[in-house]
């Protein structure tokens, strides 16, 4: 009788252990893929990556090219043109400088998303020895 009781007790203990092992295995089986997916998503969408991607997207979508055209008083010779060309080519914002003796126009094209105040343009022309009549601005969005 006693030996039968002992046998039942052992059997139920063994079943309990097996149930516990199966439960743990089942938990791993469920949790591991979830963690793996989570890790994958985390790798793909770190805040830094997101920030850079967004910044690049914004940048590529809003490239502003500004052109300013000044009419210069007193520009009558090749030396005058050369002077203004040298002065404006040295400015860090300026991409290209074009001058036309016929129309007395100085055309400045600035680097992407850069500009120069009218007051600075006037000051540079004045410090080159000339006067400004008008300044006009045009923008191109790329």
């Amino acid at each position: 009788m006693n030996s039968k009781k002992t046998s039942i007790t052992l059997k139920s203990k063994t079943n309990l252990n097996l149930n516990l092992i199966f439960s743990i295995l089942a938990m791993f089986a469920v949790i591991k893929p979830v963690l793996a997916v989570e890790k994958l998503n985390k790798d793909k969408l770190t805040p830094e990556v997101k920030k850079t991607e967004v910044a690049d997207a914004v940048k590529s979508e809003s490239q502003n090219i500004i052109t300013k055209e000044a009419t210069v008083k007193g520009m009558v010779c090749a030396f005058c043109v050369d002077t203004l060309k040298k002065v404006f080519s040295k400015q860090k914002e300026v991409e290209t400088v074009q001058l036309d003796l016929d129309t007395k126009k100085l055309t400045l094209t600035f680097k992407a998303n850069q500009n120069m105040d009218d007051s600075k343009i006037k000051k540079l022309i004045k410090s080159s020895g000339y006067d400004v009549m008008t300044i006009t601005e045009s923008r191109i969005n790329l």
Binding site: K73, V76, D82, V87, K104, S127, G129, D131
Partner: protein, 224 residues
């Protein structure tokens, strides 16, 4: 005040070879040379501001009836743009020039002058459109040391120029001018007519000329 003005004018000297604008732009340099059968001259000018320039000049002259000797003039100078009129299609300028230097007469035994310090004074006025160019210029060189029996005037010179552009060219094209230069000075005491051809291309200027006495002239100027 008068003394101050006279002192200022006294330190001004003339840039003889500069028939174009003698002051360039802020931070710019000008190099000018003039060669003729009578003299040669080299000058370099730095412009801290658009209205004044600091320069150095070396000039060599051959003997003339007055000088009787080769002379080498080395001087520093200040060029001052007194006023500029910027008009829609024209520009007018008035310049004063001057500075002290040293005049070396190679043959003092026969020359009327002794080597020593000298000063230059000058005035230039010009007006130009893209078709017409006019210029008036006066220069005087005097020794500091005066001799009771001899004037301290080394030489002076007066130029008047009238130029015409046969065609209108843009910046990157060759600009050409035909200029008539009338000159009088203490050396030859007569009016010399000098027909001149001037060419501009980008930041280079050349002048070729010959007077009716057979003297040739070559001027060159650049800015950088």
């Amino acid at each position: 005040m008068r003394l101050l003005i006279l002192t200022f004018i006294a330190v001004l000297s003339f840039q003889e070879s500069s028939y174009a604008h003698p002051v360039s732009y802020e931070g710019g340099y000008s190099l000018m040379t003039q060669m003729s059968s009578q003299k040669s001259e080299t000058m370099i000018v730095y412009s801290p501001k658009w209205y004044y320039g600091l320069g150095a000049v070396y000039e060599q002259m051959k003997p003339t009836p007055n000088l009787q000797s080769d002379v080498m003039l080395t001087s520093s100078q200040l060029s001052w743009l007194v006023n500029r009129w910027n008009l829609d299609d024209a520009q007018g300028n008035i310049y004063l020039f001057g500075g002290p230097g040293y005049a070396h007469f190679t043959d003092e035994a026969v020359s009327n002058f002794k080597s020593g310090g000298f000063y230059r004074l000058g005035l230039q006025a010009d007006f130009e459109t893209r078709k017409v160019y006019t210029m008036f210029r006066f220069i005087e060189n005097r020794l500091f040391q005066s001799n009771p029996n001899q004037s301290n005037l080394i030489f002076n010179q007066l130029d008047f120029r009238l130029g015409y552009a046969p065609y209108i060219a843009n910046y990157n094209q060759l600009n050409s001018w035909i200029i008539l230069n009338l000159r009088t000075n203490t050396e030859f005491n007569k009016i010399t007519v000098i027909p001149t051809l001037r060419f501009y291309f980008n930041n280079f200027l050349w002048e070729l000329a010959q007077d009716f006495d057979g003297n040739s002239y070559l001027n060159f100027m650049t800015r950088f």
